[in-house]
């Protein structure tokens, strides 16, 4: 295949040989790819700071059909996340976004909506609004789970099918690491669900709003670490069940 130039977001890099890097990056048009960036760790490399985590770049690369790794020729930086690193919480949030993208996305399958989600959330984190890290991370987790097709019904009990959001009696929902979806209190008591965690009515309302509105148009509320923490926990569980491994950045994020 010929040389390509794609708009891309760098997800992760791994040291390779003396001064090279293996780079995992998400392109708008080709999906997630991996490539070798020769001499990228040298001070005068063609890549500059473009290969830092979650940098948005125009990546030039050469792809051969018989090889899994593409050859990276260079990149032109569109937007760097370096300015966010002054806040340790934001730095960990960037790792979290990169890990989820790396784990959820299949290689070589274009996913323009996911790409736009990542760009939107990075823009939002860059705005530096109060509580933007927690709101951004929650919004990203919810939409990543939805775009991966693994978001369960948030309004009905998976056990008995009852409506959890009955206007007369809205109730807390529950989830378990061993079962998919949400359950009502009755099913939780009667079913053998093992350990369970609650998902509050407020958090389900937040999820509902996030699914309807762009992140910049969400109602202005005071977001803290505790806000919708149960929703983030629920979403992380959905992702972990899907990828069949634990996310290493999720506990670091909650502890940051």
């Amino acid at each position: 295949m010929p040389a390509r130039v794609s708009e891309a977001i760098v997800l992760q890099t791994y040291p390779f040989k003396e001064s090279d890097l293996v780079v995992s990056f998400l392109t708008r048009d080709q999906g997630k790819l991996r490539g070798v960036a020769k001499r990228a760790r040298r001070p005068k490399s063609n890549f500059g700071s473009g290969l830092e985590r979650l940098s948005q770049v125009k990546m030039s690369y050469f792809q051969r059909e018989t090889r899994e790794l593409v050859n990276l020729d260079g990149c032109e930086l569109i937007r760097s996340q370096f300015a966010l690193l002054g806040d340790y919480g934001a730095a960990v949030a960037l790792d979290y976004l990169a890990e989820i993208s790396e784990q959820l996305l299949p290689a070589g399958e274009a996913n323009e909506r996911y790409f736009r989600l990542l760009v939107t959330v990075l823009d939002y984190l860059g705005s530096g609004a109060a509580g933007c890290v927690w709101r951004g991370v929650t919004y990203f987790s919810l939409w990543a789970v939805r775009l991966a097709g693994i978001l369960p019904e948030l309004h009905a009990c998976m056990g008995c099918g009852n409506w959890l959001d009955n206007p007369e009696e809205r109730e807390e929902a529950f989830f378990s690491p061993y079962r998919a979806g949400l359950y009502c209190g009755h099913c939780r008591r009667n079913g053998e669900m093992g350990r369970t965690w609650g998902l509050s009515v407020t958090s389900r309302d937040i999820a509902e709003e996030m699914l309807r509105k762009p992140i910049a148009q969400l109602a202005h509320t005071d977001w803290r670490r505790e806000t919708a923490a149960d929703l983030r926990h629920f979403l992380v569980r959905q992702i972990e069940n899907h990828i069949e491994r634990r996310l290493i950045t999720a506990p670091a994020l909650e502890a940051a």
Partner: protein, 199 residues
């Protein structure tokens, strides 16, 4: 893989575990060692064993040391008021080649990277804080790499150290000597402008 004699195959297999060495390189090295004299092979194997047996970590700065303290912590002519924090022991070599720094070092043995499972507990931060708490140090230079991980580590450390009342500085980032502004990206130029100095 062709069938080599068992000792040769074993050597190739061991060499393949080294970073950056694949099957072909391992074969080339193994054949070179096979053709080398017995004395050369013994010197190499003894050097490897000496590294494992005689080297340890300096209990003060975590640098690699032969004996109790490393050469920098033993050196009484060095300025004990200035401490330079680096990620890895080999970063010290780069700073020492400049002959411009005469303070002491502290090696973290990595940088914060939640993506790689490295948090503050995995780094040698605890004894850095204890060392600062001893009261002799007046300035801490954060010389972690100019990468996302290195910058996050520097920010994290500065937030820990600054409340202790010390001067905390970060090494400058910017255009490499001998390169051209035309080819530098926006982050590099931004950092260079940010770190500009009075002339």
């Amino acid at each position: 893989m062709p069938d080599f004699a068992e000792p040769l195959a074993r050597l190739i297999n061991e060499l393949k575990h080294l970073p950056g060495v694949g099957q072909k390189s391992a074969q080339r090295l193994a054949f070179h060692l096979m053709r080398a004299s017995r004395e050369d092979a013994e010197r190499l194997s003894q050097a490897i064993l000496d590294v494992k047996d005689k080297l340890g970590l300096c209990p003060v700065c975590n640098n690699i040391s032969e004996g109790d303290l490393c050469q920098f912590c033993r050196d009484t002519t060095r300025d004990a008021k200035v401490l330079c924090v680096v990620e890895e022991p080999h970063n010290i070599i780069g700073i020492e080649t400049t002959r411009q720094f005469n303070g002491l070092y502290h090696v973290l043995h990595g940088a914060l990277s939640p993506l790689r499972g490295i948090g503050p507990e995995q780094l040698k931060i605890k004894n850095l804080i204890e060392r600062i708490g001893a009261g002799q140090i007046e300035e801490v230079i954060l010389a972690t790499n100019p990468t996302a991980e290195g910058e996050a580590t520097a920010v994290y450390l500065s937030k820990l150290i600054k409340p202790l009342g010390l001067r905390v500085t970060r090494i400058a980032m910017g255009i490499p000597v001998g390169s051209d502004l035309e080819f530098a990206d926006e982050v590099t130029i931004w950092k260079a402008m940010e770190g500009r100095r009075e002339m």
